[in-house]
Amino acid sequence: MNAIEIKNLRKEYKDVVAVKDLSLDIKEGEIFSLLGVNGAGKTTTIKMLSGLTCPTSGDAFVYGKSVVKDPDGVKELIDVSMQETAVARKLTVAENIEFYAALNGMTKQETEEVKQKCYDVFGLREVAGKMASKLSGGWQRKVSIALALVTRPKVLFLDEPTLGLDVLARRELWRTIAEMKGQMTIILTTHYMEEAEALSDRIGVMAGGKLLFVGTKEEMYAATGKQNVEDAFIEIVTGGKAL
């Protein structure tokens, strides 16, 4: 079953085409990575799929609900963690979770359950009473991603989740994301090749707003004759004129 079906999705800003007629299906429960250099159109794609920006043309369906015609319906199924940390600075970690749960209409019991789950999955119990602004960048990022789980989404968008994290925090976050596999569909954008290699069921490569390749990493190696995602990515993006 497909969680997401994208049909000729296009986004234009004045004289720039950020995403060019993207068509793609993403299966339920898979971790799908969108790889691309800066300006490839990854974040714009995520924004269109999550209802944050309207497509210029085309449409996308999340479990059959159109992002164009029924964005509120789509919002009930998804959550997003954008590349910038998005937490309420002067609330504690626990208060951040409680606030986001209340904003999404959860009961006290549901809030408590989801709070305990966030503590367990992200190891947040030790910092639960600390104000978000007092936490390190790595912890803030964890809280930011944990908030996206509060609504128990069927589809989770992670835009550059490990951007700016040190190597240990990054590996820890990979482990957390890998543990969530199968519980929801995860669409991850990154320009860390090893991240896509370690986590993804399938990889999509974007450049200049176009989707150039979709497949498993093994299919990526086979198509390019390379032995790792980074080399294969460069081969695809440069059209064989490797650097």
Partner: protein
């Protein structure tokens, strides 16, 4: 009911964010309180402006101007930190966000009025009267204007520029409200400008409410109507700009 719950959640969060910032408490409460005491004890008896019946309502209007700074700062910071993007993805609507931001500052505005009137009354008990309650409720009108201005500026400015832009409003309330000097000492042109702008009208509305004129319509219509007009325009603009920014996001 669900919308009410979301608005309440937003109010609760915003109040916590504002009250946990020591600077906001210092500017919205401590500084105006210090000014009320200082100006009264230094200048009362020298000029009618510094009699408590004029000074206390004037200080309330001045303190409320800081609501523009702190409501604007809250929105600008939320926009800049991507926190607002997260909220956009939630089930809350843009109207709920605006109500959440606006209503979180009303309890603070009300607390300002109560504190500055009470302190004024303790220093000069002759000002205690029923009209104090009238002025207390009237103070919600300038509060609404300043909060609306904050929402508008917070939607337009980023976190770096909001402080400078909002301080123009605070300076306007201080310099153009006729709080510190008698109107007779000013030229006709300056007074006309002051009458058209919201600042003098905000202070005057509270002062007149406080003094309790018997001919309500005759005394109140000008500051009340001018301030209400500004409030409606500012809130309409704030809603339009906030929604536009939400769509752009």
């Amino acid at each position: 009911m669900k919308a009410l719950g979301r608005i309440f959640a937003l109010i609760k969060r915003n109040v916590k964010e504002i009250l946990r910032d020591p600077l906001s408490l210092a500017f919205m409460l401590a500084m105006p309180l210090g000014m009320e005491l200082l100006f009264y004890f230094i200048f009362h008896g020298q000029s009618p402006q510094f009699e408590m019946k004029y000074l206390a309502p004037g200080i309330v209007a001045f303190a409320q101007a800081f609501l523009t700074l702190f409501s604007g700062l809250l929105i600008a910071l939320d926009r800049g930190s991507a926190f607002l993007t997260r909220l956009y993805v939630s089930r809350a609507k843009s109207s709920e966000f605006i109500l959440g931001y606006a209503f979180s500052l009303f309890p603070i505005a009300f607390a300002q009025s109560v504190i500055f009137f009470l302190v004024g009354g303790i220093i000069d008990p002759s000002i205690f009267s029923v009209t104090m309650i009238v002025a207390l409720f009237l103070s919600l009108i300038p509060a609404t204007f300043f909060i609306g201005t904050g929402i508008l500026l917070g939607s337009l400015c980023n976190e770096k520029s909001i402080g400078g832009v909002a301080s123009i409003v605070i300076a306007g309330q201080s310099m153009l409200s006729c709080m510190w000097f008698p109107p007779e000492s000013l030229g006709k042109g300056v007074l006309t400008v002051m009458r058209v702008l919201p600042f003098k009208n905000a202070a005057e509305l509270l002062q007149k409410g406080f003094l309790g004129y018997s001919d309500f319509f005759h005394e109140f219509w000008q500051p009340l109507l001018i301030l209400l007009a500004y409030t409606v325009v500012v809130f309409a603009l704030a809603i339009l700009v906030f929604k536009k920014k939400m769509r752009e996001k």
